[in-house]
């Protein structure tokens, strides 16, 4: 755990951003495209990092960045309405203002994955924090081995970025497999748990890197499936979620054993957090 001796005051002060576009992705999920309102510069970020979004008068919430890291001019966040703050964020419309602090945290280790097969595994809304990593992988495609994207959702209607998934699926250099828990007869993808898809993924388990994001219970099962496939625990990376408040590792709200999820994570090697994930009430 790295405790900062001093925190840059700017990191605690939200900057005003204007909602340039709000797009409904799913019944309870919106994507916000934000641009600075204060005349300041864009927010450059690493895939996997998050910002603190402040819905004025309601509160602040940690939201992963979902946009293209090569195009930071427009800040993209996909938000699911699960509480008061995220409901307020999902209610924002064009030209309204939101406060932004960030970016924070450690992102996906794409440099470490260079030259290797990469498996990206997303469950539900977990595709949102992985989207910048996928876009970055595709932008620098020649630097990686085989790239596989496995996506799981409840039903076809719960699939995030469905159109983009279709475009990605059309590529010859990306193997995209999508599964849902149940579906009607018009669904052409697979039906079953996302962890089962790991068996069909084309990769060399001795050198592959896996990036996993979804609800914690899904990541636990996913990690077990990847370990069974032969990946070492240090090659599996998971993005954790805890109650982030300060986002700079001082308040302790997101403390997870010896780790501060906001500043040591949110992306961790599975080897580092495996025991904690098995520990109840951490």
């Amino acid at each position: 755990m790295a405790l900062p001796l001093a925190v840059d005051a700017a990191a605690l002060l939200p900057r005003p951003f204007r909602v340039q576009r709000a797009t409904r992705e799913l019944a309870d999920t919106w994507t916000l495209e934000l641009v600075p309102r204060d005349g300041g510069g864009a927010i450059a970020f690493e895939p996997g990092q998050f910002n603190m979004l402040y819905a004025f008068g309601v509160g602040e919430s940690a939201i992963s960045i979902s946009g293209d890291p090569q195009r930071p001019a427009v800040l993209v966040h996909t938000v699911r309405a699960v509480g008061a703050v995220t409901r307020a964020l999902c209610g924002l419309r064009r030209d309204q203002t939101v406060g932004v602090r960030g970016p924070f945290g450690a992102g996906w280790p794409l440099e470490l994955a260079s030259g290797k097969d990469v498996l990206v595994m997303a469950g539900g809304i977990g595709l949102a924090p992985l989207r910048p990593a996928i876009l970055d992988l595709l932008a620098r495609r020649a630097r990686f081995g085989r790239v596989t994207l496995l996506v799981g959702a409840r039903t076809p209607d719960d699939l995030l970025y469905a159109r983009q998934l279709e475009r990605w699926r059309a590529r010859f250099d990306l193997d995209v497999r999508v599964t849902v828990d149940s579906a009607g007869q018009d669904w052409r993808g697979e039906v079953g748990v996302v962890t089962k898809l790991t068996g069909a993924a084309q990769l060399d388990p001795r050198s592959a890197t896996a990036l996993v994001c979804g609800p914690e219970v899904m990541m636990r099962f996913a990690a077990q499936a990847l370990l069974a496939r032969g990946l070492p625990p240090e090659a599996i990376f998971v993005s954790l979620e805890r109650n982030m408040r300060c986002a700079v590792g001082i308040c302790g709200h997101c403390q997870f054993g010896p780790e501060f999820v906001c500043s040591d994570g949110p992306v961790f090697p599975y080897a580092r957090v495996a025991a904690l994930l098995q520990t109840r009430e951490v």
Binding site: G124, S182, Q185, G192
Partner: protein
């Protein structure tokens, strides 16, 4: 043309099975094809067959009033389909529909049961493999029951 036991040896479920066992159970098997949309079996029908999928995808479905047919699982190349042929009352629990043109090896359930009774070592080997598949699917069903994508996650 390849004999059935040679084709079976390449299927994931039968991989590594002794050649004499493969030859023995091939006597209960035949190649089959189903066209897209065709039902391999229907819920409640007599479960007298066991399928090894060689190519294509099959949807396991059930019908829900007001909602229609719902797919609960898909099985694909290398998977097996059906274990209701093993246990009385030998009735299918779901519908199985070919989602595309499908190539299968179909076993006569009664014949296969008889062979397992005749040669308990073969029976034990096949039951171990079936138990492994059943346990995997049971685990998958448990995970599906957990509704793992519905849990709160940072968006």
């Amino acid at each position: 043309m390849e004999t059935l036991d040679v084709v079976l040896a390449r299927h994931e479920f039968f991989r590594g099975l002794k050649p004499e066992y493969l030859a023995f159970i091939a006597g209960c098997a035949r190649h089959s094809h189903a066209t897209a949309g065709q039902y391999l079996f229907r819920e409640g029908d007599e479960a007298d067959r066991f399928f090894a999928v060689r190519k294509g995808t099959v949807a396991l479905e059930t019908f829900i009033p007001q909602r229609g047919a719902v797919t609960v699982q898909t099985v694909a190349e290398g998977d097996i389909l059906g274990w209701s042929w093993l246990f009385p009352p030998y009735r299918w629990q779901f519908d199985a529909r070919a989602r595309e043109d499908v190539s299968l090896t179909v076993f006569d359930g009664a014949c296969l049961r008889q062979k397992c009774e005749t040669d308990p070592a073969l029976g034990y080997e096949l039951m171990k493999r079936l138990a492994h598949v059943v346990s995997e699917r049971f685990e998958s069903a448990r995970i599906q029951l957990l509704d793992i994508y519905g849990a709160a996650a940072r968006s």
